[in-house]
Symmetry: C3
Subunit: 382 residues, 3 copies
Amino acid sequence: MTQCFFEYATPKILVIRSKKVGTVNRLIQALIIAYVIGYVCVLKRGYQDTDSVISSVTTKVKGIALTDTPDLGLRVWDVADYIIPPQEESSFFVLTNMIITPNQTQSHCPEVPGLNCSWTCTSDADCTPGLKDVRGNGVQTGNCVNYNATVKTCEVLAWCPLESEEVNMTKPPMLADAENFTVLIKNNIRYPKFNFNKRNILPHITRDYLTHCIYNATTDPDCPIFTLKYIVSAAQEDFQTMAMLGGVIGIQIRWDCDLDMPASWCIPRYSFRRLDNKDPENNVAPGYNFRFAKYYKTANDVEVRTLIKGFGIRFDVMVFGEAGKFSIVPMLLNIGAGLALLGVVTVVCDWIVLTFMKKKHQYAEEKYSYVDDFGLLSETAE
Amino acid sequence: MTQCFFEYATPKILVIRSKKVGTVNRLIQALIIAYVIGYVCVLKRGYQDTDSVISSVTTKVKGIALTDTPDLGLRVWDVADYIIPPQEESSFFVLTNMIITPNQTQSHCPEVPGLNCSWTCTSDADCTPGLKDVRGNGVQTGNCVNYNATVKTCEVLAWCPLESEEVNMTKPPMLADAENFTVLIKNNIRYPKFNFNKRNILPHITRDYLTHCIYNATTDPDCPIFTLKYIVSAAQEDFQTMAMLGGVIGIQIRWDCDLDMPASWCIPRYSFRRLDNKDPENNVAPGYNFRFAKYYKTANDVEVRTLIKGFGIRFDVMVFGEAGKFSIVPMLLNIGAGLALLGVVTVVCDWIVLTFMKKKHQYAEEKYSYVDDFGLLSETAE
Amino acid sequence: MTQCFFEYATPKILVIRSKKVGTVNRLIQALIIAYVIGYVCVLKRGYQDTDSVISSVTTKVKGIALTDTPDLGLRVWDVADYIIPPQEESSFFVLTNMIITPNQTQSHCPEVPGLNCSWTCTSDADCTPGLKDVRGNGVQTGNCVNYNATVKTCEVLAWCPLESEEVNMTKPPMLADAENFTVLIKNNIRYPKFNFNKRNILPHITRDYLTHCIYNATTDPDCPIFTLKYIVSAAQEDFQTMAMLGGVIGIQIRWDCDLDMPASWCIPRYSFRRLDNKDPENNVAPGYNFRFAKYYKTANDVEVRTLIKGFGIRFDVMVFGEAGKFSIVPMLLNIGAGLALLGVVTVVCDWIVLTFMKKKHQYAEEKYSYVDDFGLLSETAE
């Protein structure tokens, strides 16, 4: 047994000296080795273990907008007015246009006609008391009242007066100035598997630079301060058009890091993309808007609210990426697989040798010996 | 050396002609090949590189609710009232039940007794001035005052009057109508590695269809508009029961895509699941609720607030999935490993041959030649 | 052909009996086998398929803070006051310090001088009517008015009075009591690939325990209730210092699960880390703050607001982790690659044998037979 331990088994090899086969043989070998080393290891970094990013984002918008509307008069809008809600996790909404319905109270008023006039009526009979329709604005009382001189609609209990439908959504949007707003985006990422943290405000950036810089893909790729207009146009959209009905823009931050390299090489790459569907064909409720209200109380303790249908652009900061770091397992996995592929060479060459070459019988004789189960020995070279 | 380049080395093979071993040999080979091709390549798509999804979600709830309470009277609730906050990133909260405490001001009032009457007192000695307990509602003044005819509790500086504890949480919840609300969910996904984008509103869906469709797993699996009741019951819950104390429901959107197939085959799959723990045994603060306030000012500039303890259902839209696309590395990795496994065949068969077959010695003689380090040649067949 | 099916080909082996080579041979073999079994399979669990977590988080903060400021007087702050917005998806913001500017109305007032006095002026000529500067607080009217006895600044249309700049940010922060607040974090995770769900409130935890427990890494690692102070100090920060200007803290919940083991072994691990950059060198707008406003209406229907610049700590709950479960593909992949690596042994040993051993020629003669394409047979042992 001990003797067996000191044995070393190596296959007997038949060496064929032939320009043709030899060349084929070397070629295929070269090919496979080139693939494993060049492609897998160098290009695809197959020797690396990977991890995906976890991230935290904070944003800070700056800017002033001036509006001049008949009902509001000259009005200045600042951050506290147009950022709703005041803070979110990794996105921010900028109000750009709105329908304001002030002084709503819980009372009765005629429903708005609605599309294809679903709420118009001629007599009370057309209205069903207590009907709460998902598309309606309130609970029907059962009365049919004058909506205006010509049209009668069912009366509803609701926040009255109702938000009017025929609003002039003509350019420019109310907060056309919003395009000049700037946003500071702070992003902190972590690759837990490698215990690696980094910020999008890179170490070499000075406080001084940050106070005046504005991101530009070519001139200032490291500045974390963006103008909304730049972001929107980088997403191939026109800000003023988009601001009318609102929309959703993705601010994509890609962190692809090779952690075998200096950490300073791991930097964020920004890209911008419109996320909502502006094509009206296969879409409903185009753009992006939502309703919110400011609640007041009158002197005589009646609750009054100002309803605002806010149209605006929501910016979603999407952080993604993959980090790679040398790891023994994936490397040996790829090398092992590569070696296995080398076995293919023999198969191919043998096939060539034993099929095409004129001296194939001699090769076969040399290569193969036969022994069979039927008592008689095979005609081997021995 | 050049000559060596044109050499081609192939192992010398001993072919054993035997029904038994031959069959075993072929069987194992077949098995391994079947596994590699059938299972790895076809089923598990081992030839694909994978990427995980990044997503953006917007939601829009529609619906009207009517409530009739002693303190509020007949009241209509619309989106601006029951969606808090008015917009979130990938989730939305629908208010279904609440405890309203109007007209709170900063003043002094008796603390509520609290569970196991921790705040009851008999004399001022029982109250510690300035005590701020995490479970209390205010800062104790040190006085012991009448909470009601029978009970005395420590006085606190707080938003008074305090939220009463004995509230009637009897069915139905205040906004029982919420079950009929509908929500439109827009989801935009991206597989960055493959630069592939898609929306859950599929290209073939028409605007017309979207205006009236309602999601149903069997009849309308592509409609992105859901009724809250459907969602909750799909998560095996009863809406009215859940609406009482609130809860959290996960709306799971799965995007599993084989990008070697037409993009149109890559469609979202919806599923629903309750995320919070309703089992009271190992749980605290069951359901889902949070407090928020509306702030008013009285004529004489005193700040007054209406405190609302809002119970409701939070719907978290969770988007996940994996996309696969042909890639040379994983494919060759699997093939290489497969080839390597074929090596196992020889090992197994040799073992059989050299152990069980009666002519094993002859085989051994044919297969092995010996040479040792001890000067004398081994007795080989040659 | 059928005969060929029953053939079994095995390479002819030359066995070299030599202490040296034999030992080397066995050593390398042992090494590779140890690696594949010990490292890949046992340590790295290479036989497992992995999936990454999807999660849902809800938080509930409790606590009371008392402030005593000249303009507000003695005031109690509860959850509804200091949590803004009242609920978020997987993070929560606790107000700790603020600059309050009450009774703002849309009107005219002198701009604040600003850093390096960019808004100071000597005559109207220095002010440009209609100028909306991103760093300004309003729209300039073109007049140069007295800011105070000594300084003149450009007049602006804005929410006046403006937020003053020289605010005393002296310790302690307004809501110093916040350090005693507690937060209950409920986390529900899912590994979709394995259809595995779990909560951070573990099954064995009783309702009773939850009512009084406080998380402590060593004594109470399973309690989901944290004091803010503990969280901040676990992130190597001082709460009172951080509360001054605010900041962002990451609450990291790691779910690393081996699903081949009992599910009860899969438990969350909490860790805490500061996410924002406190180093002023390469940072701008240090800390974390945002502006929000409460809107009121006066008796004569003028909109008035209280602007609050809120400094506070945002806690981001970051859930991550990886689950592994036995899967045939990765296992055979690793085994296959391992077998292939065994091929390396032969290469190495052959090289040793044929290079260093004194009887190398004899070995070569035994191992190799030659045949060439040039008509004449090679000088083989036969």
